[in-house]
Subunit: 229 residues, 2 copies
């Protein structure tokens, strides 16, 4: 199946380098598809068609559909973090810096729908059908990224201790995960929301929720910092 759509420079991957290239192609295709369909809608058949490979051959490179998505998640997190790291903390009072951090997190997450989709599907959908080995490896990777995020937070709000910085980041991530409109309801339902003013509340703005949560939690933690119980 020589594909004239995909840029297959070789038909059969025989060296390690070529195999890595195949993995990358699969991940790229998955990422592209996730901009069109929700995580649950990404099927192996469709993915394999996209990379011009038979389904069995996708499973040759990843132990399961979930393993593909988990690998993609790690790549997306790494990319996001490297974007965050390029932002310098800046000056101002602690609340001001908290607000700026809130804005930075909210807008950068909003710009990465694929990442948000994957994170929010992580516990419910992804961590099934995975060998214990893969799961552990993934967890270790995520743990590393979490540490980086906490240090990042600490650099922006040094008045928070390590523990509170971790709490802040944890709360923000949890909120983001839950507030992400995972897979949007069908259009008919959205239309009905728009028609009924009472239901408009249902359409929470993701960016706004994440920003507000970060601001408020940072404020709460800073308050407690000053006057510990």
């Amino acid at each position: 199946m020589v594909c004239n759509v995909c840029d297959m420079t070789f038909q059969r991957a025989r060296t390690d380098e070529q195999r890595n290239e195949r993995r990358r192609q699969i991940l790229d295709a998955a990422a592209a598809m996730l901009t069109e369909v929700p995580v649950a809608g990404l099927t192996l058949t469709a993915l394999s068609r996209r990379v011009c490979l038979a389904k069995a051959n996708v499973l040759r490179y990843f132990e399961s559909r979930e393993a593909v998505l988990l690998a993609l998640l790690e790549a997306e997190i790494a990319d996001w973090i490297s974007e965050l790291e390029s932002a310098t903390p800046g000056a101002g009072t602690a609340p001001e810096r908290g607000d700026r951090l809130a804005d930075l997190l909210a807008t950068s997450l909003t710009r990465r729908p694929v990442l948000c989709d994957l994170i929010s599907a992580q516990s419910t959908v992804l961590e099934r059908n995975i060998s214990a080995d893969t799961a552990l490896q993934h967890k270790r990777a995520v743990l590393g990224y979490l540490g980086t995020l906490v240090r990042f937070t600490g650099r922006h709000l040094p008045e928070l201790g390590d523990e509170d910085a971790a709490t802040l980041m944890q709360t923000v991530m949890l909120t983001a995960v839950a507030a992400w409109p995972g897979s949007r309801p069908p259009q008919a339902v959205l239309d009905a929301y728009a028609a009924d003013p009472a239901l408009a509340v249902m359409c929470v703005d993701f960016t706004d929720v994440v920003r507000r949560t970060t601001e408020v939690v940072a404020a709460g933690l800073l308050t407690r910092e000053r006057q510990p119980r």
Copy 2:
């Protein structure tokens, strides 16, 4: 298929009352199963076996598998709220009442794993495969419950305005949804967590996260209340 396990007092539901009884039996069975398997693992076949009905007959009472779970979700929320309503606000400073509210929410949610499972699966899993009509009806019901929860919060922390009470409850629910260990990883993975101290962090305590988030967010909102930007 006359079942000697289920308490089928009639074989064929012919009156409205009997049909409601069937619906209740189905919901009860689903609730019981959710204490054993995660939402994603509750299959129509298993559910129908449990209520001693053919699969097609379960779908006679609910438009789809998701509709069953959505109906169960509403029932569980209603039950939870009626438990919350029975708690009286009590006295003390605002932060003290905030902490008590945090504890109340955290412990009551922890005691309701089925509710947490369903809420956390709501956007990702449940709101698919539902007619627009059912979706709207469900959303309206949830909206009503949310309003009750916000009023409940306002009664415990009257110094928060309506808007901040809503923000608090929203954040708490979002955090709870995301922190809920949806469907637990396989036992082998859990064992490995226990073995590796660095991975122990992964086992966040749900009750603790919800309690802390509520406390901190309440504190943050109260701070801003006193000194609006």
